[in-house]
Symmetry: C2
């Protein structure tokens, strides 16, 4: 639930979290966003998220008229107002209010603070099943608001008792709907290099993995899943979650792997000292 919100430089009073319906984000999907969260009551890795947000804006030709300092200060103000011990922080930038339903105007920029639930201990410990689906996100390096494929397939995911979707294209494993995907083989940690969103948690995990393991960032073939010892995915809120099954294929011994668990502990440690 959204508990506080900032729109174009102004904090909105509670209950007024609305936008005019001629916003191009709503009418034409012309919008980018980013999403981070707090750790120890403070925004976690905020500069990295803002940098990616700014990059998405540039690639979508949307003008972000606020500096990192202005945005950071607004985030702290909203967090203070929200009084949430653990919060999600969302940035949204749209093509603005259009007069003719197509031509962009001055972008609308929004920050929202949201209640956030953590991944259950059961999921974090025992891992999940994914459903594979042939798809590559449009402009995969840009964090657009286009999640139509994921949302359209939500019932199929449930029917298959899957936790999320694993996208693949041309024989390569890419990413989940909102997470990056990794495999582990012979103590080497492997993840896709391109045609994915460059996750901030992915970057952190790659950094932590390099201290202990061999790391490969490259094309990952779908066929490698059958030989993998372990698999996991990373995300802002989900941190690191073991993957024990993709469709009907068991990964490794079907349990959360040793490397995955080690990286999860290293991540929690890193977060604690941030």
């Amino acid at each position: 639930m959204i508990v506080s919100c900032y729109l174009n430089g102004q904090t909105l009073p509670t209950g007024k979290h609305t936008i005019a319906i001629n916003d191009l984000g709503l009418m034409r999907g012309y919008a980018i966003f980013d999403f981070c969260r707090t750790a120890n009551g403070k925004p976690f890795l905020l500069p990295q998220y803002l940098s990616r947000f700014r990059n998405s804006a540039r690639l979508m030709d949307l003008d972000l008229a606020y500096s990192d300092e202005q945005i950071t200060s607004a985030v702290y103000e909203l967090l203070e107002m929200s009084k949430l011990p653990f919060a999600g922080i969302r940035f949204l930038l749209t093509g603005g209010y259009t007069e003719d339903s197509f031509t962009p105007t001055r972008p609308n920029f929004m920050i929202t603070i949201e209640e956030l639930s953590q991944v259950s201990a059961e999921v974090a410990e025992n891992g999940v099943k994914l459903m594979s689906y042939e798809y590559q996100r449009e402009m995969a390096e840009v964090k657009t608001t286009n999640y139509t494929v994921a949302l359209r397939l939500r019932k199929r995911v449930q029917e298959q008792n899957a936790y999320d979707i694993l996208y693949h294209s041309n024989g390569n494993v890419l990413e989940l709907t909102r997470s990056n995907f990794f495999i582990v083989k012979d103590n080497t940690v492997v993840t896709a290099a391109t045609d994915i969103l460059q996750g901030i948690t992915r970057q952190t995990v790659l950094h932590l993995a390099k201290a202990q393991y061999k790391v490969e960032v490259r094309e990952v073939k779908f066929s490698e899943l059958a030989q993998a010892d372990e698999a996991f995915f990373t995300g802002t809120n989900k941190k690191i979650v073991p993957v024990v099954k993709v469709d009907d294929l068991q990964i490794g011994n079907g349990k959360a792997g040793k490397v995955t668990k080690n990286l999860y502990q290293a991540f929690l440690e890193y977060e604690k000292t941030y």
Copy 2:
């Protein structure tokens, strides 16, 4: 500009055309729409547009809880309120207000009446240039709100003095950003069969063309453009517009073609008697 609006069964007072920011159309692009217009002061081909809208809803797994009768009656009420002699009518259906930024709830259904400007006489008579771009719309048969590619490229279109973009993929010509594309060769009217939005104006024009010409609905190779005698596009508001150039390639003799003009006259006649 939006002059009147209906949201979930209620007419909104002027100045209150807003939606809460946790709508999934805004947050996740999970929305479909359709767009028709008036002719002779009445909704033109409304049942056809509603049928396509309902089909998009079904394919996107969005529940449209209103009957054609309810929607039609609301359209007439809004048109009456708007007092516009010539109006656009937009239907929008979104994944509803989400509590966790991802899970759909009861869809939001909106109808808006908008001021609409007609294509200039110069464009209708002399035709336009298109800029080609390699792209195929995701779920092309569904009228989603995803126009990110079109909006991101708007400056490039302007720089090239083009009127719009012609999408092509795997060597096949598909459609424009919001219009269907046709070529004419030896008095045969040709248009793409699949991987496009099935335009209502396209259907009408195909029907009218069959009375006078041979018609082919099939794969259209990009390479056929160089041999075409004429080209044109069709759209709800733009009706029929001649295409005289694609990038640097002149189509036919570089002027609006005879078949295009004939079909345009036939279309105006059909509209007048609707």
